[in-house]
């Protein structure tokens, strides 16, 4: 039993580099079922967090709460969705830590970011399974997620946090950000804006700017041409073409 387990783990560690070797002209597996399942768990919880968060963020968007069962339901479920989101992102981070790590070639890629955005003539370096832009976006989202979780816990249980510590006699507040909850609100809002900015880019890239990307995340497969165009180094590795 034990050696078998060990072997499986080895395979897993290179899972992100691995896709089934496909014959020329066929389709390539880009995301396996597990990766897609985790992605859509993250996506679903994010969507709920986005809608419920926006309802609580702005009076102009409070009407969204009626789609989610009213303001009280929105307030109750938002933090639970946050926990689901954070756990799913954590699993995603562990699974993809290797393909998402920023290597020297990624820093090189970043010098061509503008060229990438404008579909410029200047040759953007070939990218691995994820390009440096995707990686940066991921880490911004993941770090925002961590900040949102930490500040969110303070907002979830505001009475459990005080600068003075638990159990002290409540003193009249001094003006300013004297309650940890206020620091929590500020942090939560700043990182929510960062996170919403990131998701705008991600949704645009995934749904509009890169045809085939959505299908990759739904069906798990991409065409060879797609792989060659967007992730040439990954494509070569998968196909066993030496670099």
């Amino acid at each position: 039993m034990k050696p078998k387990r060990r072997r499986k783990r080895v395979t897993k560690s290179v899972a992100c580099e691995l896709a089934s070797h496909a014959p020329e002209g066929a389709e390539i597996q880009r995301y396996n079922l597990r990766e897609r399942l985790i992605h859509w768990t993250v996506a679903t919880s994010f969507l709920y967090l986005l809608l419920s968060g926006l309802a609580l963020y702005s009076p102009r968007l409070y009407w969204i709460s009626s789609l989610l069962g009213g303001g009280t339901n929105t307030r109750i479920w938002h933090p639970y969705a946050g926990v689901v989101f954070f756990l799913a992102v954590s699993i995603m981070t562990v699974n993809w830590r290797r393909c998402l790590w920023l290597y020297p070639e990624d820093w090189e890629w970043m010098r061509y970011t503008w060229s990438y955005i404008t579909h410029g003539e200047e040759g953007v370096p070939e990218s691995g399974r994820f390009n440096a832009g995707q990686k940066t976006l991921f880490w911004m989202q993941a770090l925002s997620g961590l900040a949102l979780l930490l500040s969110g816990v303070v907002l979830w249980f505001p009475d459990k946090f005080s600068w003075e510590g638990l159990g002290t006699e409540p003193q009249p507040y001094s003006p300013g950000a004297s309650s940890p909850g206020l620091a929590g609100i500020l942090t939560h809002e700043v990182f929510a804006i960062v996170s919403m900015g990131c998701i705008t880019v991600h949704l645009y890239m995934g749904l509009f700017a890169t045809p085939g990307a959505l299908r990759a995340m739904v069906e798990g497969k991409v065409t060879e041409a797609w792989a060659r165009t967007h992730h040439a180094r990954w494509y070569k590795r998968v196909m066993g073409i030496s670099l």
């Binding site: 609580l56 963020y57 702005s58 009076p59 102009r60 409070y62 009213g70 303001g71 009280t72 929105t74 307030r75 109750i76 955005i117 404008t118 579909h119 907002l155 505001p158 009475d159 006699e169 409540p170 009249p172 507040y173 001094s174 003006p175 300013g176 950000a177 004297s178 309650s179 909850g181 206020l182 620091a183 609100i185 500020l186 809002e189 700043v190 804006i193 919403m196 900015g197 705008t200 880019v201 645009y204 509009f208 700017a209 890169t210 045809p211 085939g212 065409t223 041409a225 797609w226 060659r228 165009t229 967007h230």
Partner: protein, 282 residues
């Protein structure tokens, strides 16, 4: 003197009613408080908020360590040393009914906190979603969450009594005239007169507590030692927390602009550069 809306929490459209009502005010003359707690009892009676919890004796005459969701009116008993003498002060504490209420500004639920034109700030529990942002927004640490209903409660300044021309229950119960109720102007006049008397009696620091940081309050104090409001359990210079002002003001504008700008930029990019099509094999 009906209740007319002045401001609603989390509401962008105008809410102000058509009638002009006088602005009301409660005056608490600390120098004549004898600590009898009649106001506490009257508050409990009128608002029907029995206190179930008991607290171990802490060496103070104070009924409760702090205000509670079912205890909106507390006389703070405090000992303070001034000029080498021990002073025992009693000061009634409750919602201050700020002219610029931090709770109302922080609240995300439309209509959960209302401000009437007469100055009363009231919580409407049926609209409350229990997020507790009001607790963080209050510079006086007044609103309290009920663990049972998960809604927030505080002194209503007996808005139900005031609406039909009665004075708040605590005022009615006060035996010494320490608590008075009337229009804000009347109460300020009386407070200033009382301060003058106290100064003549040797309380050179006597002053009116009507904190400007929240644009004044609809519960004001006469403090014999006005230079030391902390001795009475009152914050020195309360104001709406800057975080609340920032969060509900510029941050909302900047944040929305950034997000809308991002969406617009994406649309523009699509029109100008279009999608990245896959390269055909040569």
């Amino acid at each position: 003197m009906p209740l007319e809306l002045k401001a609603l929490s989390a509401t962008n459209y105008p809410t102000r009613g058509i009638r002009e009502t006088p602005r009301v005010c409660k005056l608490i003359d600390v120098s004549t408080c004898i600590g009898c707690k009649a106001c506490e009892v009257a508050c409990q009676e009128w608002n029907d908020t029995p206190v179930a919890e008991t607290y171990p004796y802490t060496g103070s005459y104070q009924t409760m360590p702090d205000l509670a969701h079912n205890f909106w009116n507390l006389i703070k008993f405090r000992e303070a040393e001034r000029d080498g003498n021990l002073h025992w002060t009693m000061a009634k504490y409750q919602c201050m009914h700020c002219e610029d209420p931090g709770c109302l500004r922080a609240c995300p639920a439309p209509g959960a906190i209302v401000q009437y034109t007469n100055g009363i700030v009231d919580f409407v529990q049926e609209n409350c979603i229990g997020c507790q942002f009001c607790i963080m927004g209050c510079p006086f640490n007044v609103p309290k969450l009920s663990p049972r209903s998960q809604k927030v409660y505080k002194c209503t300044l007996c808005s139900d009594r005031v609406a039909v021309g009665l004075e708040p229950a605590c005022i009615k119960a006060c035996p010494t005239g320490c608590l008075q109720f009337g229009t804000k102007r009347q109460m300020l006049e009386r407070a200033l007169k009382r301060v003058k008397q106290l100064r003549a009696q040797g309380f050179s620091q006597a002053s009116v507590y009507n904190p400007p940081g929240v644009s004044g309050t609809h519960a004001i104090y006469v403090l014999p030692f006005g230079n030391r409001p902390e001795d009475y359990g009152l914050p020195r210079d309360p104001s709406v927390p800057w975080v609340v002002s920032l969060w509900k003001g510029p941050m909302k504008t900047v944040g929305s602009a950034l997000l809308l700008g991002g969406v617009l930029a994406a649309g523009l990019h699509y029109l100008k550069f279009g999608p990245q099509r896959v390269e055909r094999k040569d």
